[in-house]
Symmetry: D2
Amino acid sequence: MQLEKQSIQNINQDALAAHQRKFTYIAGEVANAEHIVKKLEAFNIAIPSWALGTGGTRFGRFSGGGEPRSLEEKIEDVGLIHALNRSSNSISLHIPWDIPDNASSIKTLASQLGLHFDAVNSNTFQDQQKQELSYKFGSLHHVDKAVRKQAVEHNIEVIKYGVELGSNALSVWLSDGSNFPGQLNFRNAFKNTSESLQEIYDALPDDWKIWIEYKPYEPNFYSTTIGDWGQSYLLASKLGSKASTLVDLGHHLPNTNIEQIVSLLLMEGKLAGFHFNDSKYGDDDLTVGSINPYQLFLIFNELVEGMDARGLDHATGIGWMIDASHNVKDPVEDLLQSVEAIKIAYAQALLIDQQELKSAQQNNDVAKGQEILQNAYRTDVRPLLAEARLRADGALDPIGAFRKLKVRDQLIGARGSKSVATGL
Amino acid sequence: MQLEKQSIQNINQDALAAHQRKFTYIAGEVANAEHIVKKLEAFNIAIPSWALGTGGTRFGRFSGGGEPRSLEEKIEDVGLIHALNRSSNSISLHIPWDIPDNASSIKTLASQLGLHFDAVNSNTFQDQQKQELSYKFGSLHHVDKAVRKQAVEHNIEVIKYGVELGSNALSVWLSDGSNFPGQLNFRNAFKNTSESLQEIYDALPDDWKIWIEYKPYEPNFYSTTIGDWGQSYLLASKLGSKASTLVDLGHHLPNTNIEQIVSLLLMEGKLAGFHFNDSKYGDDDLTVGSINPYQLFLIFNELVEGMDARGLDHATGIGWMIDASHNVKDPVEDLLQSVEAIKIAYAQALLIDQQELKSAQQNNDVAKGQEILQNAYRTDVRPLLAEARLRADGALDPIGAFRKLKVRDQLIGARGSKSVATGL
Amino acid sequence: MQLEKQSIQNINQDALAAHQRKFTYIAGEVANAEHIVKKLEAFNIAIPSWALGTGGTRFGRFSGGGEPRSLEEKIEDVGLIHALNRSSNSISLHIPWDIPDNASSIKTLASQLGLHFDAVNSNTFQDQQKQELSYKFGSLHHVDKAVRKQAVEHNIEVIKYGVELGSNALSVWLSDGSNFPGQLNFRNAFKNTSESLQEIYDALPDDWKIWIEYKPYEPNFYSTTIGDWGQSYLLASKLGSKASTLVDLGHHLPNTNIEQIVSLLLMEGKLAGFHFNDSKYGDDDLTVGSINPYQLFLIFNELVEGMDARGLDHATGIGWMIDASHNVKDPVEDLLQSVEAIKIAYAQALLIDQQELKSAQQNNDVAKGQEILQNAYRTDVRPLLAEARLRADGALDPIGAFRKLKVRDQLIGARGSKSVATGL
Amino acid sequence: MQLEKQSIQNINQDALAAHQRKFTYIAGEVANAEHIVKKLEAFNIAIPSWALGTGGTRFGRFSGGGEPRSLEEKIEDVGLIHALNRSSNSISLHIPWDIPDNASSIKTLASQLGLHFDAVNSNTFQDQQKQELSYKFGSLHHVDKAVRKQAVEHNIEVIKYGVELGSNALSVWLSDGSNFPGQLNFRNAFKNTSESLQEIYDALPDDWKIWIEYKPYEPNFYSTTIGDWGQSYLLASKLGSKASTLVDLGHHLPNTNIEQIVSLLLMEGKLAGFHFNDSKYGDDDLTVGSINPYQLFLIFNELVEGMDARGLDHATGIGWMIDASHNVKDPVEDLLQSVEAIKIAYAQALLIDQQELKSAQQNNDVAKGQEILQNAYRTDVRPLLAEARLRADGALDPIGAFRKLKVRDQLIGARGSKSVATGL
């Protein structure tokens, strides 16, 4: 299914007066409202194909209904999201879950919905049915060269699919690690990983990037071979300028100062982009901004300041993507909430008077520095987001419109109440 | 020094028009603005006497200037804070740091500034100069009955000072614990603590309460004898109805769900109140709301809902106090920021439509439940706080007024740039 | 398959001389070697039926071969373990994974292998195929009374199966919780849980116990309705003397002092027993003693001292069970390693001179207290374990024997290389 | 005071028979006992001058008696430790706490006791009395170039003192960081630090090294400018081959896999050495091996394997030092316990058959890999340590000898019961 512009506008109509009252107010209160609205219009966050169905844990999965049964239906769902929020104009695929049978028709479908293809993701953390060698003990770090070779070739195949679809980045997350002391030799594992990545790197087209994710634990629970930003950075440095570090917000030890890592990676020219989500304990893959929205804001403060310092375009300078698991909410609603939270943080960060902040920092006026950030954060920027959506023919209230238009009911009608999407 | 009402009003004058514009707007947008303003007017948070000077760590202390040199000057500082924010009408003393030489004149001074005395705090985590027995190995849990007796008597003496000043609660934080496995017998330590507390409990005046704080570590680094809410609750249950559990936000292991603990203690009638602060790592004693303001809001959501369910008055039903350490900011500014953050969280919690929330919960509409909380949290309630202050003759912008009136300079002029207050 | 006593003895023969040399040495060095050997002979740890197959994570599962395909084959595997280590004389079942079609023949089979049935476990964290109502939003804490009723009845049914098999305890672990702030009302969830447990409690046979497990997170990632020992203790206290708290070593926040919790629960008569495993990050379910064996020893120190103080028999006073997931090792080998680690910790704890320790504690001789524990811990007690096994007709080296006898090959031969056991 | 070799030998006499029995046994059981004893004889761990007095926390300090009042007395204490354990042949000084008035006489004193001078430590985390500019807001990262210059010059002065004493490494730990979001610009702070370090680096004598420590928090509680190994590594890489990363075991976030970091730093040629201690929560600075001795062993496993792979001499290839705080134990006894724990871990690591381990790893025989490590770890190597000490004229039981010789009483007699050493 596809959402008609008109049906969204009809729903907007009822809320228009209230919106205009709110927008007029905030536009009068903040100095750069128009600037922020324009930035928000240009800003998009990619949707992962594997997050359009209900997620699960090792203890079970409780599916919802109307989940996409094919790559086409996944693209259709991203189209729905984008029609509502006008900020999700791309999809990130996971191979082999999303192998396109016919790349050209898939591209056409996406294009009709205003979508393109973000980074493609390889998968060497599961064994596929006809796979020759097992990844039980890892992939790119494996002690057996044949397994490493198989994993390298899989990554090169993923690039090939990406090229067909017009993607230009390969995102690599490895689950390689160990569960017990003594299981592996850290040094050899790291060197094997480095060599394997080099082979993949050498196969990258000229205009492609490789993004190297890190994660401290899960599904391995003693060590992970690319466990922290330093290890990812080290690998990316050895590889060269096309390689950089991908930050998944949930992939950190308790209490990590993620915004500082972001700042330093930007400084070193090695920040690939983000997998956004939120968490209270570990890689909980919760809705972005649902647990600690101030941290998200602090990250965007670093991003705005740091990207401006390097002259990077906010919308395209790095990769923006959600990576969450929707275990108890409608996946589409959950993704709409995540995009909203990201854009709120971004808008608030754009409110910060960077000159004033620098001046407070230069004077060690700590209370003032805190006030500047808090003033931006405490501002209600939601009317700015709504205005940006309105101008782009999106919904003033995306989740509200999703519900009023009974989209999920229609999807269940079309796909059945027992459909289960591939993914985590 | 004392702040004249007139001088604050003069400063308010310049910001009045802007304030009225903002307040009018928000009052038009939210359903219960007037109700919230009234609640805010009635709401006060006690100031700890030991937080009026610059704090330190084991690595050092970098004093500011104009710190209070006596109990009188500490009360004077709280008077300044209260004159600005009209929400800090009491002070919490720490004995023996704050022994009043003349209780009656101290009470008169406080009364003139609109202040009264909150819970009194005992100190058995340090040795005092003329103290007979050492607390090196603990106090109420000590293996030696004589040490326990000395500590019990100190607590009873603290109650006596509190009675003289019109306080009606004893706040007990013990550093008792161990640094190494084998150092103590957990069971005996717990039983000794229970017996010692019983002796103190028996000495409480009829209208007094005893508040039992818990903390998982520091200054002991292997075990703490009252280490978590469960241990505090167990002790408070054994003692009786005058005993309850005090929650210091910084006294939890990483990732603890504090709001759930608050909810359950309220349910069981055992929530004494709070020591507010914020932290990223441990008991960092940072400004309230400076690290994770959403958590603070979630705690206030539980408080508002839970206190209403028990028919408790928000302002007086439990104890509200700040317990922070101001290592790099002016202590008065820092405390003003903390009070502001607490009241913002409280106002946002008052915005929540509890009926609507209950309905979403009853329907397992998780996305809706989240939206309800986030809608309240994302609302800019600062004009409501400013209005409450304005009506109470406080400053629209407390820190701004503090700076414009050059209060710190005057304090330095009066007390010198090398004064160092007692405290942590 | 079943291991013949003779085949184990044949293998022991080769190592007998070395064993006797080692045992003679240690028996001469420590004061109470014979006492420890006897205690070890009497000590058994239950094997969970769900840990006999390869475990997995949400990212995948890499099965081994020869996994048990039925309850009978699970019992057979425990029989193999017990034949080798003579310390695993019971099995803990999980309903509905392990519903016995014919209880009497199952009991006979177990009995032939020297086994009996430990606590039975209910499962309300997954939906079963023909189940009427879903546990997606919880079971005993559910907002809908009908769901709670279904979950209560399931538990009562589990008791019924347990009675048939001669078990006498129900172990309840709930995954009930929430993923997002606003999803549930903590107080109502707790009260619902309490009422549901009361109904189950009322259905317990006279000689039965109910063990209430706690866990801070996973599979819910914002709150868990029985999240810590304090919450479990509170529920168990309300229920009565048949209810107590079950400690799973992996169910704690980072840095929790578990041994102190154990000590206090024992003191209050509310320690049900253990689910043993080890972890570095969260509920990693790794082999017992593989990550932090000293912590395991410290727990056993509290157990030995605390059980002796209450006059509890070490072997039967509380429940002993493994709860681990074997993702990269042969499950049987992994379980053998776990049992070995538990018994080493127990033997080391039995080495502690409790009188000497008490004396050091009474004198605050911290260095001495540490030395006493470390002296016990640093002693190589493996010959004591081997001797206990030898006397009970077990293997001197259980894993060595398992490999030499090619047990896994035989199991694969009988069950196939693609069999997958039910479980996590 | 100084311990006579004869008095130690007299005490050894009583325990000699038992020692020889134990040593003979273990020498017969393990393949490379003689090799390990020789390695242990060659192995020394430096003692920090600031750990010879009782430590404290921000909540207080409970001094013991007989603490060293001068640099001479600190050296004297290290002499006592070395006489007992024969493994502490150097001292690490902290400037300005330990400025030598007369370097030549200090060197002579040390030399008489068999000691030399390990790395010198600068201190820019505290303000000294006559210091012109304050380090309240940092030192090498400071926004003010004048403060940075002062801190650089202090470090260069420390090198000068070190040169006089024969030291050849500068150890730099910075407390630079921030307490609040907004306080500083991470990028500028990092760049300033890098530039300041470059100036110090340029002043290093040819044969000197600079060791850069990292720490995630404390005394700053929001960010630390050199917060993790990655940041330290990045700085050391920019500086050059004389710069490397110093690992303090307590300076990590919860659950960090430290041994993996050690392995990678060794691989990259950037491991400077260690500050040994142990901890349960944060930088608790507890006795080495008192909380998690298996982790210490795993670190030594990486060290032995990794140093051998690089052809580094175990004794001198990297820097070995204790950095602990002794709050409740006699500092000398505490240090003796720490050295013992380190050497036990080292001896156990030397027991590992690296060929066998590599083979298990190559075959993904995870259970076997774990067994190999555990077999080494479970071996009682204490007789090997005692033998190494005996051969070097040290005490069989250092703490026992310290107590029997009533060393602390003599120190109190000489220095008084109220002496307080400089340090943390």
